[in-house]
Subunit: 303 residues, 3 copies
């Protein structure tokens, strides 16, 4: 399966997703026995124009588990562009000559596509702008569900929180479109509901969805709760966040085999009391990020 750049989640067809999930599972087995793969001559550049220790660690650890090497910059903006007015395109042309794959976190929507247009090496988008794409997060979210349920068809999911600007929820919704009989509840304060572009996409694909503002109406009906943070300052009354939060009481209402996912970091919406519940999958989800990123790296490096 040819894969040049990884720019957005939508570029993945169902067969590509299935290949990715197969490879991710294989990577999990390799990591479990402490092995590495044969990529010791490959160099990955980790080019982050915005901070994200977790995402960067996940990619860099993935490259290390493959046996490869990593050039890393934690704050590319401060260190080149801002200082001397360097163009993203020139930076990418140069860095892509030195390395075999570039993992790029950029601050502007479309940054990864701009990079891919000039790069000599594959670009993996590690997030470009609020409301932009973060495809590897969406892919690991999807894999986490797939890994437990063995299928994505027939899934009923509630996405909860700040949905209008949440790129993880947006991307996941777009990926779920590709499967059959999926039902999505979007649960958020009305002013933060999922935007029309995604809703139109769902309608085009015939995916059932419902806009909700009360979690309690749907929590007992879903296989997966996908919880996201509401950023400080967006709600006039901060205490209103409680309506979009999960705690011990919410757990009571959920199905016994439901899964709770969260892209992390969390704030008040996800109580620590939930951590020990067997339905809490958010730390497994971050582990799956390692395997999915290992798999994606092999897919772009194997060409």
């Amino acid at each position: 399966m040819k894969l040049r750049h990884i720019i957005d989640a939508q570029q993945f067809t169902v067969p590509m997703l299935m290949e990715l999930f197969d490879r991710s599972r294989a990577m999990e087995r390799i990591a479990a026995r402490g092995g590495t793969l044969d990529y010791q001559n490959k160099v990955m550049a980790s080019l982050f124009y915005q901070p994200s220790t977790r995402t960067r660690c996940s990619f860099e650890a993935a490259m290390f588990r493959l046996g490869g090497r990593v050039f890393s910059t934690e704050q590319a903006t401060i260190f080149s562009s801002e200082v001397q007015g360097e163009l993203l395109e020139d930076t990418i042309r140069i860095i892509s000559g030195y390395t075999d794959v570039i993992v790029l976190r950029h601050s502007e929507i479309g940054g990864a596509a701009r990079a891919a247009a000039v790069s000599r090496a594959p670009i993996i988008n590690a997030g470009d702008g609020k409301g932009g794409q973060h495809p590897t997060q969406a892919l690991l979210d999807l894999y986490t569900i797939f890994r437990e349920r063995r299928t994505l068809d027939g899934l009923t999911i509630a996405m909860i929180g700040e949905l209008d600007r949440g790129r993880t929820a947006r991307s996941l919704a777009q990926l779920l479109c590709k499967f059959d009989r999926v039902k999505i509840f979007f649960v958020s304060p009305p002013e933060m509901q999922m935007k029309d572009d995604i809703l139109e996409c769902l309608e085009t694909r015939g995916v059932w969805y419902s806009l909700e503002s009360d979690m309690n109406q749907v929590i007992d009906a879903v296989d997966v709760v996908y919880l996201t943070q509401i950023r400080t300052g967006r709600l006039a009354d901060e205490s209103g966040k409680g309506k979009f939060a999960i705690d011990a009481a919410t757990l009571q209402k959920m199905r016994p085999n439901a899964m709770i996912l969260h892209p992390l970091p969390r704030t008040v919406e996800l109580d620590k009391a939930v951590d020990d519940d067997p339905r809490a999958f958010y730390f497994q989800q971050t582990m799956n990020g390692l395997y999915v990123r290992m798999a994606l790296l092999t897919m772009v490096l194997d060409q």
Copy 2:
């Protein structure tokens, strides 16, 4: 010898210290012949919430000399916690899933213990807060003395400088408690003297100590001078620092086989004129940091 986390210096018993020193000596031999060990599939995370280029380099070089790989962040605070309110515990849960050992420099006392409570991988405390613990510094200080004297029993040492907030002097004093017939002179401005918690610990163990404010009274009576920095602004009169400084004149009064140690960085308290004196051990001390950290990494990774 089982060693899960390295949180504070006191956790090391005398037999553990002896094993550590044996391993450190072996590491020195391996490094001298340019070899590496068989840890190429191991990944260390270097998670620094406070700056320390030297300590970070020492740990990362140690991991490289073992053959391993390193994920590094120079300023974790800016890049995750502060930006999005991420919890230390969640960060550690996630990063410890991606890596085999975490070296943590945190800004709060107790940060390393909090990390250890939730981590899937061993935590090595690389300093947690002013006045907190910095066990690997204390261990390399102790090893530097042991390596020369072949024993720590019967040692007479003067600790000089800002002792109340100096975590290196505090930790070293606690480690020296474990040996026989140790005598400690604490030499500092009265308002910066070693705190009662350490003094009580010494009394409990029957260690002889004396509180001094004039270095000249004791400098000719000690095997080891352990010098530390007095931070700017703590003395009403900055020129008063001279009373707690070593220069060519002080060298005259010291024993011919005494050792001068300093955790570095230095300011006025340690004149460059001392550098060429055979009793100056502070650069050897930093080299020993490499070997001690290699040894500690093997001790937690070998489980």
Copy 3:
């Protein structure tokens, strides 16, 4: 050929340059077939007191292509010196005990020489201060010309832009002195012309040069155009930069086999329309930086 430290461009004799160019060419072949060399036990410290993502990536990728390992700090100033008043000399003494070679970008002229005076490991100067040295840039510039023309004798070159403070143009001029029948046009606003120290050096060596302020007078007469940025604020009228810029119109006047070089990053002086011209060598130039740095690393590590 013995090479301990790489501090300035002038230290390279013509035979050393020829050895460097031979090795660089060999490195290009090794990199092209995706191989690495046998330096897996070697550790390079990348110690940057000033930001430069491109230069740092070039050095670190070079070390990775040799099989080696890298300790990296993106902003050493913030992380040690400024915070605690650490001396450059002490930092170098310590870091050079942990590593096999130090690549140093310092903020003060003479920083690399100060480091070399105390270092246990080879120092490679990756730039020390505005107007200071940046020898590896000058060497890769020279190699880029040599690689195409197979000789540097008889070269006619125009150096254009802010020449008084441009360390790359200064260093390149000094290196070109070593070859026969070189002719240099210095083209810049009069207040930014090449300084007397370099001009005197050229006169001593009998190198022909001419001070110009109009690019159009010379552009059709040169083998190489070496273009540099004019920093914002230096010209009273920013639009005056156009006189020292290359665009499609300028290309018309240039010789068909001329080469356009630029150390990058660029601003208005180098139009993107030039990128597709076969005479544009500035991205090849950055690639050559990888090979030259691989070669330099082998030269200091092979001792």
